[in-house]
Amino acid sequence: MDKKKAVRDYHRNLAVTAGIILLIFIAIPIFVKSPYILNVFVLVFYMSTLSMAWNLLGGMTGQNSLGHAAYMGLGAYASCLLVVRTGINPWLSAVAGMVAVAVVAGVIFYPCFILRGPYFTLVSIAFGEAIRQFIINSEFFGRASGVGLPYGKDSWIDFRFGSKVPYYYVGLAMMILIYAFMKKIERSKIGYALKTIREDEDAAAAIGINPIKYKIMAVVISAMVAALVGFFYASYIRYIDPELMIQAKSTEAVLPAIVGGAAFVEGPIIGGLIMIPLSEFLRATYSAILPGINMLMYAVVLLVVIRFRPAGILGWYMNSRAKQFVDERILKKPSVEVIEEVEMAGGR
């Protein structure tokens, strides 16, 4: 059947394209030796991942969180403190940190989902600030001066390196894994429940979705991913302090998703690839002359995107001639009907 072949070819083209992009990313550290540029990539990887965590709530569930820096920070603290105080392996501490943050987020947000409306956003802001204040005032958490991780010989077991290259690859792997995970969620029962809740909570309840239950699931998953990013960040920077959780950091988690397109799982990655290098470039170039210029630029870009492309870059791309060109000429994508027919008939 040539329809079957067309669909098979299309999937092959997709896989090849994804493979080429992946190869480029894998090859970058081989050619780029500048630690400054590698650092920008590492930033892109973990900030995009954090933004994907945000997007599960903001984009898929329609619950805007302004507290993701706090989950990330808590994850960082939980795993750092465990490593420093008990000497357990950092990889294990990452898991423990994720579980701890999941519990905290679930317990704190359960009551606020009983109410509908903007309460979640308000509580998420208060949550972030409360956690920060608590840490600043807690001896156990090292107060305002923070916690440092031990330096030492390069080691995979201790996830500790002098060079940025291993962090580059671990960050890239983390971003890809979380992307695959989010993609899986999007197409699953949970994903449909979350999207239905985003569109209309009454309609959701009418088809059998308990909105509170699924919103809690989304918060918990999102917070766990943010905690994982926190672990990665702490292992990379090797030092954390409560500044990690200031409100501006939570906003930074939102921007890649909004700019890239919050309706798409890919949105945070596309937005991150654009916004973070831009921000870093501006910071490096102008911050000595004009402190805060990168934040100003963030604000301007955000305003421009919301004004002209409210659905983000991908929202624009999906209806653009560019996509038409890519689909027809590069990917050779058959019509939706043909893909559907082949998928329903053959069972992929």
Partner: protein, 249 residues
């Protein structure tokens, strides 16, 4: 067992702040049949409907399903009990395609799909049945009222109900579309689904319903076959009065 009515509503009252929207209403819904509820605007039809469907609890009274008290069940428990509903004010999942609207439903209910493939197959089947198949890739917000009404029904059907509640599913349809909708409802009923519907369009009520309940100012004023009810002097008075208002509006 099959003698017990599928739904028994016993003395339900709903008060919103000062306003009593439904006053001490009792009736039953016969298994396998199509039962209608009519009444002028603001009579309390949707309020009654919403109480039975768990959208909000009655202030007083009890509701039984298959003889079991379901007064305190939550709205999201219903599809697991094989009961499903539509909304008078349509609630399409606006930014999702028609197909995804229905796939979302197919994941839930007592016969919920176990995987993506099952959910899609179920959705496709329902889309064929409701005549939305050709529009499956359209965003639901881009469709007109008749199709959105159909989509409400398709979403409800994708949860495989044995009892279906339709709130004014034909309002705003032209005569040809109404005729289509009547046929569809009859087909759903013939497939074994008990139906309870609220409708203003008399033609539909008369041709579909075995039994009709009439509400007025929150009270039940008549019950019987469409013929009996339409010839009831009180109903005629209430109803003809309102019909004129409707025509003026």
């Amino acid at each position: 067992m099959s003698d017990t009515p599928i739904i028994e509503v016993s003395h339900i009252t709903k008060r919103f702040k000062g306003l009593t929207a439904v006053k001490d209403v009792s009736f039953t819904i016969k298994r396998g049949a199509i039962t209608g509820m009519i009444g002028p605007n603001g009579a309390g039809k949707s309020t009654t409907f919403n109480m039975i469907c768990g959208y909000y609890p009655p202030t007083e009274g009890k509701i039984f399903y298959d003889g079991k008290d379901i007064t305190d069940k939550k709205a999201y428990d219903y599809t697991n009990m094989k009961v499903s509903r539509t909304f008078q004010i349509m609630k399409p999942l606006k930014n999702l395609s028609v197909l995804d609207n229905v796939v979302a439903s197919a994941w839930f209910g007592h016969a919920a799909a176990k995987n993506e493939r099952q959910a899609r197959e179920k959705a496709m089947e329902v889309l064929q049945f409701t005549g939305l198949y050709e529009k499956r890739h359209v965003l639901s917000k881009d469709m007109g009222t008749p199709d959105q009404k159909r989509l409400e029904m398709a979403r409800a059907l994708a949860t495989s109900p044995q009892l279906l509640f339709l709130d004014e599913n034909m309002a705003g349809l032209n005569p040809a579309e109404t005729e289509e909708a009547i046929k569809l409802i009859r087909r759903i009923n013939e497939s074994g689904v008990t139906i309870f519907l609220i409708e203003h369009i008399m033609q539909a009520v008369v041709s579909l319903c075995e039994e009709v309940i009439v509400l007025h100012h929150g009270e039940k004023i008549a019950v019987g076959t469409p013929d009996e009810v339409m010839n009831d002097p009180y109903v005629m008075e209430v109803y003809l009065g309102v019909k004129k208002e409707d025509a003026d509006a």
